[in-house]
């Protein structure tokens, strides 16, 4: 993907004679404003997540019962000490929001990466060995696709107790079947292609053929699937945390904040609305970006 972007950037630099307006127009044709906004928002959230300890005004666990349920700064009763107000234990909502974004993004990224690696590996195995391996993987894909994954997660978390590793693992399992299906299909068509046969006749090991040659060639489809899977993971994490079986206190996540703020929805809406908006904007931005990436990487849609 970066290759393509670079190529096009250098192209536009080669034509300095075009006037400014046309170039602006072309720039927005290539990168629509909504895509730019989505990308900037995601970058902002990543920035917040990475530098959470530096930018949060308070420790997200510090309780101050004297300032319980304080409103945000622009409302009556609010002050500049707590920009987004405080929750029922007097904890700063902004600080909690910052750390929640960090936790939720971390879980979603790890979950997405684990799912991508797991699914891609199984897809390669199925395509390489065919036969019963293929049958088992395909059966697994069909199982996964027809399972109500949310309920399975609930059960597993309830049974095995809640810990972060299991939780992230579950997020990783979510959606692996789509990577596996994409990888298997594209690999089956790639290994009949000249380049894969060619590398094979050079004497390369299958691992080399798959990782050095086929993977780069099918990566665009996998990247697109990652961007589409990511919002789903964020929402799954939020839903489970909202129900109280996801991220456990004292840790906090966006869903977890929503869950605990639920009781104060009528009196202190700010506890739930800010994390809710954060979830909404994060998933929306990722979906917009994903759609754009898919269009960009699909030569038939150019």
């Amino acid at each position: 993907m970066t290759d393509k972007l670079e190529v096009e950037l250098t192209h536009s630099e080669e034509k300095p004679q075009e006037n400014f307006q046309i170039r602006i127009h072309r720039f927005f044709g290539r990168y629509p404003p909504i895509v730019i906004i989505a990308a900037l928002w995601l970058l902002f959230m990543i920035f917040v997540a990475v530098f959470a300890t530096l930018i949060s005004p308070y420790d997200f666990t510090s309780i101050d019962l004297r300032t319980r349920l304080q409103a945000p700064v622009w409302m009556e009763g609010g002050d500049w000490n707590h920009l987004f107000g405080t929750d029922d234990l007097g904890r700063d909502v902004l600080s909690r929001l910052i750390f929640s974004i960090r936790m939720s993004l971390l879980i979603a990224f790890l979950g997405t990466v684990i799912g991508a690696i797991l699914g891609t590996a199984l897809g390669f195995l199925a395509a390489h060995f065919r036969g019963w391996v293929d049958d088992v993987v395909m059966a697994g894909i069909d199982f996964q696709a027809s399972l109500p994954f949310f309920i399975i997660s609930l059960t597993l978390l309830a049974f095995f107790g809640n810990n972060l590793v299991l939780f992230i693992g579950l997020m990783g399992i979510y959606g692996w079947e789509r990577y596996a299906r994409i990888t298997r299909g594209l690999t089956l068509s790639a290994i009949t292609h000249g380049y894969a046969i060619a590398v094979n006749t050079l004497g390369a090991t299958p691992i080399r053929v798959y990782l050095r040659h086929i993977l780069p060639n099918i990566s665009s489809a996998l990247i697109v699937n990652m961007t589409l899977n990511f919002p789903g993971t964020v929402i799954l994490e939020s839903s489970l945390s909202f129900l109280g079986i996801g991220v456990q206190p004292p840790l906090t996540s966006l869903g977890n904040m929503l869950g605990f703020g639920r009781d104060y929805l009528t009196t202190a809406w700010w506890i739930t609305v800010f994390p809710g908006v954060a979830i909404f904007l994060a998933t929306l931005s990722m979906s917009i970006l994903g759609d754009w990436v898919r269009d960009r990487l699909d030569p038939t849609l150019m």
């Binding site: 380049y195 060619a198 050079l202």
Partner: protein, 341 residues
């Protein structure tokens, strides 16, 4: 190249008595669904049906035939891209079929394949130089910088300029791509090079360039080649011996001059009559073949060619002709040529 490997190559090259490649009674059947739909019946498509030949060191064997005659399938079988249904392929006296995957990978550095479609044969996401270097890295021949130097030297020797090294395949022209494919095949200095219609995807002007390059490299490296083509002119230019294939069988096999001067099989005669003569006013008697070749799933009885043969006699449909030698050493599978009917 490590020491042990080097000595084994030398010892292989010393067995000059043996042919480099020996193919005996090779069969390849594909299971295909003849009638459409989910529940159609499966039949055997006989792509290669009992082919035997041998190629000695330094020789170039041409395989010609129309599309569907099984020539590309033979190439794939020789390189073990596909496995034969039955039959034996011996390379340097070793059977290909019993090899372990590790042994096969090792052996592959001595036999290389040049593809019909150079764009498809190159990884679209890898730079030219990396693709040419790759065989050396796979077989752990030299350090990375040495590999790079060797690849660059080879590419320069086939007239590819330095600035193309860091391009991607789609940025090159067809002729350049085919030269890259050749370079990749030849960088290991293989003993056997199988070229599957290496010029059919190229312009006529570039065809000559690639063919001459092939001939030059063959001289320089002492290559043994199998050259598959449907272009008889090119085959005549580059090959020493030719096999003519029809529907999965070799119908005629002879030294190039013998075949072109006195074709014995009616099919070969028809093929040769289609070559234009580059002299105005001079016309040879064109032999037009009737209709298309029959389906390889439902083969004609007796001689497979009798349905289209201009000299066919009733007896041709009854017995299958064997590939036998004529007095002059030409191998032909035809009842008429052997005077059997």
């Amino acid at each position: 190249m490590n020491k042990q490997e080097g000595s084994s190559v030398v010892s292989l090259r010393n067995q000059n008595g043996l042919p480099l490649l020996e193919v005996t009674d090779l069969h390849k059947y594909f299971r295909v669904r003849s009638s459409g739909g989910l529940f159609g019946k499966k039949n055997n498509l006989k792509a290669v049906d009992g082919v035997s030949f041998s190629v000695s060191r330094g020789e170039t064997l041409g395989i010609v035939g129309e599309s569907g005659s099984g020539k590309s399938t033979i190439a794939r079988l020789l390189l073990k891209i596909d496995n034969p249904t039955s039959g034996v392929i011996k390379f340097n006296g070793r059977k290909l079929s019993g090899l372990l995957p590790v042994e096969l990978r090792k052996l592959r550095q001595h036999m290389q394949y040049v593809f019909q479609d150079p764009l498809g044969a190159l990884d679209p996401r890898m730079k030219i130089i990396d693709q040419v270097t790759e065989p050396l890295i796979i077989h752990n021949i030299a350090s990375k910088s040495e590999c790079h130097d060797k690849a660059a030297e080879l590419l320069r020797s086939i007239d590819l300029k330095d600035h193309t090294f860091y391009r991607y395949p789609h940025e090159l022209s067809g002729g350049q791509r085919q030269r890259v494919v050749l370079a990749r095949a030849l960088i290991m200095e293989p003993q056997l090079l199988v070229c599957d219609e290496p010029t059919s995807a190229l312009d006529v002007s570039i065809q000559a360039q690639v063919i001459n390059l092939l001939a030059r490299l063959r001289e320089r490296m002492g290559l043994t080649m199998i050259f598959i083509s449907h272009d008889l002119n090119i085959v005549r230019h580059i090959c020493e011996r030719v096999s003519v294939m029809y529907l999965g069988k070799v119908v005629e096999q002879a030294q190039i001059d013998l075949l072109f001067n006195s074709p014995a099989h009616p099919y070969t005669q028809a093929l040769l009559s289609a070559i234009p003569i580059p002299e105005p006013g001079l016309n040879r008697q064109r032999i037009f073949l009737k209709s298309d070749p029959p389906s390889p799933i439902d083969l004609p009885s007796g001689c497979r060619f009798h349905t289209r043969c201009h000299r066919a006699k009733p007896g041709c449909a009854e017995r299958i002709p064997e590939l036998k030698s004529l007095k002059n050493g030409q191998l032909v599978a035809c009842h008429l040529a052997h005077g059997e009917i």
